[in-house]
């Protein structure tokens, strides 16, 4: 593909400013997403994946701020855009859906109006036309009887329906990038599968790239072509999603893969319980020296405790940040 990638994050650092001290909550994060690509960001709670997403759309607020690095969307650096230019990107070219479809919709406004508002806001349509487009948008996310549903208030819809409405709102203006922050965590498993399928199909049809953020490695690997694993504010491994299960290199990723329950694996491997990763994630103010995973790592040696590992290119494709990668 020619031209700049759709999204390019280069050496991003996000500072947490507390009184006069600055702590890097996210550091050295780099990745790129091409047009129409699906990219996953995986990590446990507090590893910095959600604030990375907020940084991408220019919505970091105090005490968080971008300390260093660049975020380029379509070749333009997001931090350098004016507030109005950023606003014109948000919802129009970069859209986002959230974990909680219960709270992400305005309770006092009919859902159709909330979809229509996007057309009015970003495409300058009049309300008549926008309302007609809202019905179409609702039909496209497979909500039955959309012409009646547009008049419903969010509390009249189920969780799955609300997330469909959120997707309709997010995709209303045909964005180039959809950021999905834990889009199905609040939903039950059968609905989860439907929503993921819907999101993937719609984005594939429209050529919308997806940045999916989740703690669920299995889910992300299922949706995305490439996956980056974050630990304690850093990307520790980035791989094609097919490779990550078979040949993951970083001890943390291997730990994640091993801790996934697999149907029938217990009998096959003669295991009686799931493997876990020992220890807990370090506090943001208390990251260890050297490799941040070293206190929990079985392979840790002296160098891991003193020296921060550099990013290494893997011959099989992908990146890893570990002194002893497999």
């Amino acid at each position: 593909m020619t031209g700049p990638p759709l999204l390019e994050v280069e050496d991003l650092r996000i500072d947490l400013n507390y009184r006069s001290s600055h702590v890097a909550a996210v550091e050295g994060v780099s990745f790129r997403i091409d047009r129409g690509e699906t990219f996953g960001l995986v990590g446990e709670s507090g590893c910095g994946k959600s604030i990375t997403a907020l940084a991408l759309i220019g919505l970091l607020r105090q005490p968080l701020s971008i300390g260093a690095g660049a975020i380029r969307f379509d070749g333009r650096e997001i931090q350098r855009l004016s507030a109005a230019e950023q606003r014109a990107l948000r919802g129009n070219r970069i859209a986002m859906i959230f974990q909680e479809p219960m709270t992400a919709l305005n309770p006092v406004s009919p859902v159709g109006r909330q979809i229509a508002e996007m057309f009015v806001l970003h495409q300058g349509k009049d309300w008549r036309e926008a309302n007609r487009l809202a019905v179409e948008a609702l039909a496209s996310v497979r909500v039955p009887a959309p012409e009646r549903r547009v008049k419903d208030y969010p509390h009249q819809l189920s969780g799955g329906m609300r997330q469909r409405v959120m997707i309709a709102i997010a995709l209303a203006c045909g964005p180039d990038l959809l950021i999905a922050d834990e889009p199905t965590t609040a939903l039950d498993v059968t609905v989860q599968a439907e929503i993921i399928e819907l999101m993937r199909n719609l984005c594939a049809e429209r050529g919308t790239a997806i940045l999916m953020i989740s703690h669920d490695l299995g889910l992300v690997a299922n949706v995305c072509r490439r996956v980056a694993v974050m630990y304690a504010g850093r990307i520790v491994e980035e791989r094609g999603s097919d490779d990550i299960f078979r040949t993951s290199s970083h001890p943390y990723t291997q730990g994640l893969v091993d801790s996934l329950p697999r149907l029938g694996s217990r009998a096959a491997l003669g295991r009686t319980r799931l493997t876990e990763i020992a220890g807990v994630v370090p506090a943001i103010t208390d990251f260890p020296d050297g490799c941040r995973f070293n206190p929990r790592c079985a392979r840790a040696t002296d160098i891991c405790r003193t020296t921060e590992p550099e990013t290494t290119l893997l011959s099989a494709g992908g990146l890893v940040r570990c002194h002893h990668h497999a």
Binding site: L89, A95, M96, T103, A104, N106, P107, S109, L121
Partner: protein, 273 residues
């Protein structure tokens, strides 16, 4: 849909006051100002004089009916002014924060520290008595509660997912305030507004009672009470009927406020259907 007793009773009382005010010229038996006749002075309530007559022989019933116009005008207009000021200041202060928030907070505290009646008295003293100065005085002095409620609602709503979502979807500040924040705080604002309307009617009565409101001979409920205070033992109907009118209107507004809050909350709406 069951609307609740509060809404029905409160709405009925307030509607009655509004209808009486609107139809005053047709409902009144006599002209409230001109038809004085000393031969009929201080007649007790009877079939001819429903509410009795005052010291000048004017029909109290007709004066109460006409007084509704003034009292309601004062209540509604001054509370509208209060709501607009309070919501604008509270919403922007809560949303933007920073020095503007500090400034609005300081102003609100200042307003709350000065008894509003005293403040209104001061404004009236400068502007002179009369309906217009009454509206200005009451409209500028009672917005602090509305402001506080608007600000507090904004602060709690600001962190709601849908306000964050609106930001992410590219809504501007003004659009967020109008489409996301304002509709979600309408309930408490209406409740405080109707209560405030009752308060304004009472304040009008108090100012008129003190001789700074509507000037005699024009009838407002407060000025009627003021004129009646000397005869309260000899001719109690002079104060009972305007007092009752104030009481019922203010009670109606308070009940209406509560009842409206119940139906304006979309969650409680679904519980009932």
């Amino acid at each position: 849909m069951r609307l609740g007793a509060n809404l029905i009773i409160g709405g009925a009382l307030f509607a009655l006051a509004v209808i009486v005010g609107l139809l005053a010229p047709w409902l009144a038996h006599t002209d409230p100002v001109m038809d004085a006749n000393l031969l009929n002075a201080e007649e007790p309530p009877s079939w001819i004089w429903w509410f009795g007559t005052d010291a000048q022989g004017r029909d109290i019933y007709s004066r109460v009916v006409h007084g509704a116009r003034i009292s309601l005008t004062v209540g509604i207009v001054s509370q509208l002014v209060n709501s607009v000021i309070g919501v604008t200041l509270g919403l922007t202060a809560g949303y933007w924060g920073g020095w503007w928030d500090d400034f609005v907070n300081g102003l609100t505290n200042l307003m709350l520290a000065i008894p509003s009646l005293i403040f209104a008295l001061a404004i009236m003293a400068v502007l002179g008595p009369g309906l217009t100065s009454l509206l200005i005085a009451l409209g500028l002095t009672n917005w602090s509660f509305t402001c506080r409620i608007a600000r507090a609602s904004t602060l709690s709503l600001k962190s709601q997912g849908y306000v964050q979502a609106a930001k992410v979807l590219g809504y501007g500040d003004l659009r967020i305030m109008i489409t996301q924040l304002l509709p979600n705080m309408v309930g408490p604002i209406i409740v405080i507004g109707t209560l405030g309307m009752g308060g304004a009617i009472l304040a009008e009565a108090a100012l008129s009672f003190l001789g700074l409101g509507v000037r005699p001979p024009y009838p407002s409920w407060g000025s009627m009470l003021s004129e009646a205070r000397d005869q309260i033992t000899t001719a109690p109907w002079l104060s009972i009927f305007p007092g009752l009118a104030i009481f019922l209107t203010v009670l109606g507004l308070n009940l209406l406020g509560d009842g409206l809050r119940d139906i304006l909350d979309p969650q409680s709406r679904s519980r009932r259907t």
